[in-house]
């Protein structure tokens, strides 16, 4: 049985990407700042050391081009997120190109570290493709320079041991940077994943709460009463501000959407409305599972949230059946209870089939909620689990 972890819910990948882009912009500010400092130091050094003005000018232009590109992409990135993506890749290529250019201009072993600086700047983005570009650029540039321009890095006490050591430790260094970047990218992904999953979980839990409440109490929102109250409010507001029928149009459209009138008929009756605007207005309904009700429910719970500093990064926040402090027996019991509860179902929760359980446990983040050994047993014996649960529940049903 193969196991491919997938994101639990359709759509959250898009939200996760949005989260990444939101934070990418702040990283860009840091990159611009570092590039500006680099440019200043380089121009200062080349000018003071009396380098040919052609070199000073060319390096100034290269740095300026990179900074301008970053600023432009930052500005256009508001309109189209692809500019932010493009910026990462072009800047990575750019910093390595400038580093190589400086190595060729200065021809000094001290400039070898410029490649590491370029890598560190690109590492700011914490992106997998950027990491790939950086690694290939660093490795290729280093090997090319060491093979063809060995004299750039010849120090006074050169020896065979020194050459081998340089090769060996640069390769070791690149490997370390690669692993480090990979894990850091993944670590950042953990938070984005958790937030994206929690957003979807929240959305579904609100719906679950609404449905359970309506089923338990048999009570639904009094739509007519709400509309009457808001119309009275609109009338009082109109009188106060001196504008006749201030909210009448919107309320009339909302009433018709609530009544389930077809879009075409509403659009025909209210010339300013289009299918898109009606779809947007439907979010302002407050009955059933509509958006505005969810907003009100969420606002109503916000005051209950009280996060203490020590709760941040606390492992107890991560709900799992794989707490390091728990014994294996407890982990086994936790998973067995979980599995049996899914099979049994309860009020408002139908019993799940083995295929549903297996798919959701093995192919989503739930897999990591459990001890790896317990998961191995389940993956290899899920049919046995199914048979045990079926036997237990069937025997009881026969009584």
């Amino acid at each position: 049985m193969s196991r491919e972890p997938i994101r639990g819910f359709p759509g959250i990948a898009e939200y996760r990407e949005m989260l990444e882009i939101r934070h990418l912009r702040s990283k860009n500010h840091f990159v611009i700042m570092i590039l500006a400092v680099g440019a200043l130091l380089t121009i200062l050094y080349t000018s003071l050391a009396g380098y040919d003005p052609v070199y000073v000018l060319s390096l100034s232009i290269a740095f300026s081009a990179l900074i301008l590109l970053n600023l432009t992409c930052l500005a256009y990135g508001r309109e189209n997120v692809l500019f932010n993506q493009l910026n990462k890749y072009v800047t990575t290529f750019g910093v390595f190109s400038v580093a190589v250019a400086m190595i060729f201009i200065f021809r000094s072993p001290s400039m070898l570290s410029l490649l590491f600086i370029a890598y560190a700047i690109a590492a700011f983005y914490q992106d997998r493709k950027v990491m790939l570009i950086s690694n290939v650029s660093l490795l290729f540039t280093f090997l090319a320079l060491m093979t063809n321009y060995r004299d750039f890095f010849t120090v006074e006490n050169a020896s065979a041991e020194n050459d081998f050591g340089l090769f060996f430790f640069v390769i070791v260094f690149i490997s370390l940077l690669t692993i480090s970047q990979y894990i850091m990218i993944k670590q950042k992904g953990f938070f984005y994943n958790q937030i994206a999953i929690s957003r979807e979980t929240e959305f579904r839990n609100i719906e679950f709460m609404i449905d359970a409440g309506e089923k338990a109490t048999g009570r639904t929102i009094d739509a007519a009463g709400y509309f009457a109250a808001v119309e009275a409010f609109a009338a009082a507001l109109s009188a106060k501000i001196g504008v006749p029928d201030a909210l009448g149009g919107t309320l009339a459209v909302l009433r018709e959407i609530e009544a389930g009138e077809p879009c075409e008929r509403i659009a025909a009756r209210h010339p300013g409305q289009t299918p898109e605007s009606l779809s947007r207005l439907a979010d302002l309904l407050f009955t059933g599972r509509h958006k505005l009700r969810k907003v009100a429910i969420k606002i109503g719970r916000v005051r209950a949230v009280d996060v203490h500093r020590r709760e941040i990064f606390s492992e107890t926040q991560f709900k799992t059946f794989n707490h390091p402090s728990d014994t294996l027996e407890i982990k086994i019991i936790a998973f067995s209870i979980f599995y049996a509860a899914l099979k049994r179902g309860s009020a408002g929760m139908r019993p799940l089939t083995e295929a549903e359980i297996y798919d959701a446990i093995v192919h989503t983040d739930y897999f990591y909620y459990n001890d790896p050994a317990v998961m191995r047993i389940y993956r290899e014996n899920n049919a046995v689990f199914d048979a045990i649960a079926r036997d237990a529940f069937a025997a009881e049903a026969e009584r």
Binding site: F116, K186, I195, M209, L254
Partner: protein
């Protein structure tokens, strides 16, 4: 090995303590490789043979210590030992050879330190390494210079090393803030979800009682299923699988007696109380971790509308761009808050409704940034009496 690599690949699903453990294991492997290489390089070092042997023995002991710390789950201690080990390696190389490659160890050390992504660790150890690096460059300038090097080459070494340090320091600062913000957002989300689940659980319990159903922990079939599943899994992993039923009995007993009474019971051993305490988070008679995970899991199988880009948008300003729509939306939200229960009352019933004053207070809270624009809040304040008189609860 394969399992470890699989965990590395799936790091984005693992909590922080697990990731730390993976990082230490990776650094330990890296140090083991470098130490093995050092045995070869040590032949060229200027130390006396006995010093080389003693240092290599200490390094190997160091790897053993890191292994033991990982094995006994002392991850933070292991992190410190790996860093000290790396710095010691750096010193061994830089003091032992004039070769250029020794200089690379400053970059290697900084990379090891930054790998852990702990700001204070980077500030402490990273600064020491950068400081030692600058001292080394200035003191051993001859080892690093080319026969006809550029003017001020030594200062280029210093500046580049410090830049490398500062870039990673900036990155650590940025990541620290990013992770704290993301974590705070996540913790808040978890708490809000918990408050929905309190209501859901209350209603599900009402439905269960109305339908004359039995709770999970009183259901014999459920207990039998859990018992047999636990024994089955335990027998695959342990020699005496049946022993697990004792823990299971304790689990059921906590439901009947409550954790407090078990902890107070002087007849029970400390070990039993410890197990009971750990089992508490998996009880089924209130909103525990187990119940939360179950509810979240079940929501996956409930029908919901298809994904839209504004699915997780709760800001009225963005949901309703036109001013009149925003006012209508605000009016409806006020009405929901003023007439629908949103908390448990003093009798534990989900019937508490917010008063006008509480809503005013809520709308003035900084958390409203997520839901309302400044303009909407100002509009509410200006017309609060209209909201109260026409949209509030009557009587």
């Amino acid at each position: 090995m394969i399992r470890f690599l699989r965990r590395v690949v799936n790091t984005d699903f693992l909590p922080m303590n697990e990731v730390r453990k993976i990082k230490v294991v990776l650094i330990m492997t890296f140090l083991l490789i470098v130490t093995a290489a050092t045995i070869g390089f040590a032949f060229f070092f200027d130390y006396a043979a006995v010093v080389k042997i003693v240092v290599m023995a200490v390094f190997l002991l160091g790897v053993g210590l890191i292994y033991l710390l990982i094995r006994f789950n002392r991850i933070m201690a292991a992190i410190h030992v790996t860093i000290v080990y790396t710095i010691a390696l750096t010193m061994f190389y830089t003091q032992g050879t004039d070769s250029f490659y020794a200089y690379l160890f400053f970059y290697i050390s900084l990379s090891v330190i930054v790998f852990y992504q702990e700001l204070y660790i980077f500030l402490g150890y990273g600064t020491v390494v950068a400081g030692y690096g600058v001292f080394y460059i200035l003191k051993h300038a001859g080892n690093l210079l080319a026969p006809d090097d550029i003017p001020g080459s030594i200062y280029a070494y210093v500046v580049l090393l410090l830049m490398f340090y500062l870039i990673f320091l900036l990155q650590s600062l940025h990541n620290e803030k990013l992770y704290t913000d993301l974590n705070l957002e996540w913790v808040k989300l978890n708490q809000v979800i918990g408050s929905y689940q309190d209501f859901t659980l209350f209603h599900l319990e009402e439905i269960r009682k109305r339908d004359k159903g039995v709770p999970f922990y009183e259901d014999r079939a459920f207990r039998k299923a859990v018992d047999e599943l636990s024994v089955f899994v335990c027998e695959q992993l342990r020699e005496h699988g049946r022993d697990i039923t004792n823990v299971l009995d304790l689990y059921i007993y906590i439901h009947e007696r409550g954790l407090g009474k078990i902890i107070e019971n002087e007849e029970l051993s400390t070990a039993t109380k410890k197990i009971a305490n750990r089992l508490d988070k998996y009880l089924l008679n209130r909103r525990t971790d187990m119940v939360s995970i179950l509810l979240n899991f079940f929501t996956r199988f409930r029908a919901t509308e298809p994904y839209r880009p504004n699915r997780y948008e709760y800001h009225l300003g963005r949901l309703a761009p036109a001013t009149d729509e925003q006012i209508v939306a605000l009016a409806f939200v006020y009405r929901v808050l003023a007439v629908e229960p949103s908390a448990f009352d003093a009798w534990g019933q989900p019937d508490k409704i917010m008063s006008h004053e509480e809503i005013c207070q809520l709308f003035a809270a900084p958390e409203m940034e997520e839901f309302l624009s400044d303009g909407q809040i100002a509009f509410f304040k200006e017309n609060a009496d209209l909201f109260r008189d026409h949209l509030g609860r009557k009587g």
